[in-house]
């Protein structure tokens, strides 16, 4: 087993307890999704004030909600097409909120360089989701590229808890550029191959 796989399994145990509690209380998964956004908004506020450790704890709680909503939906048999759409939209708002918190902080500190780096990282993080969504309206699947949402969340947590947010912004920015490029190349190849078969 790989070490990231082991960490995932270890994290699953407390998560299962929370999922079971939500199922027992019959909390609707869409409410959990929205709660995640509200808590992420608070995390963005803490980031904006430069309270990284506090932001890290709040992000940790918010992401529990993000993680469990789909699982609770399955267990409550409340899976719906709208639920999937709602989850994706709210996730984008949560992503943007965290980046805006950092942009506010760096702008307050007069650091135009990091305002730009964070804004670019935000742009490519959003484009990562958009390219996949748009590609999957044309081809069956477009799940290539490294920097997806779970990776971004873990990096935000690492940056917040260890005060290395600048390095994290560089990593998210650069790897998101590669991820967007991967998705464009992959979609181009898939569509080209499909056209060749038709011809």
């Amino acid at each position: 087993m790989t070490f990231t796989g082991l960490l995932g399994r270890m994290g699953m145990f407390p998560m299962q307890l929370i999922i079971d509690t939500c199922v027992r209380l019959r909390i609707h998964p869409n409410v959990l999704t929205l709660a995640g956004l509200v808590i992420n908004g608070a995390a963005a506020g803490a980031l904006a004030l430069g309270h990284f450790v506090t932001a890290g704890f709040i992000m940790g709680i918010a992401n529990i909600f993000d993680f469990i909503d789909g699982k609770v939906a399955h267990q409550l048999k409340a899976v719906s097409v709208f639920g999937g759409f709602w989850d994706s939209v709210i996730d984008r708002f949560s992503d943007i909120a965290l980046f805006i918190g950092l942009i506010y902080l760096y702008s307050r500190l007069g650091r135009t360089d990091y305002v730009m780096i964070t804004a670019l990282a935000m742009m490519f993080a959003i484009m990562t989701s958009y390219t996949r969504a748009r590609a999957e309206s044309l081809i069956a699947k477009c799940k290539v590229g490294f920097m997806e949402r779970p990776e971004r969340i873990v990096l935000f947590l690492i940056g917040a808890f260890t005060n290395r947010m600048a390095a994290v912004m560089w990593v998210i920015g650069v790897l998101s550029v590669f991820t967007v490029a991967d998705r464009i190349i992959y979609t181009y190849r898939e569509l080209r191959d499909r056209e060749q078969v038709v011809v």
Binding site: T4, G5, G8, L109, Y114, F146, L155, R164, V171, T179
Partner: protein, 67 residues
């Protein structure tokens, strides 16, 4: 000869054009590389607005100077 010349290029291409799943050894390797960059790069090198100092590189240099 040709194989030796193309291997680094293939590794670079596979790192750039990422198609590996999570919990594979390639994923672990990428995670280690990212964590190394985040934690080992001195904040001063990146002009970090919120952190200062030379990071682990400075500690190692200080240790070597002390010897």
């Amino acid at each position: 000869m040709k194989r030796a010349a193309t291997l680094p290029a293939r590794i670079l291409w596979n790192a750039f054009f990422w198609t590996y799943e999570r919990a594979t050894w390639q994923y672990d390797l990428m995670v280690i590389a990212i964590l190394a960059f985040v934690w080992l790069t001195p904040p001063d090198w990146l002009n970090d607005p919120m952190a200062t100092g030379g990071g682990p590189v400075a500690w190692i240099r200080r240790l070597m100077m002390a010897d």
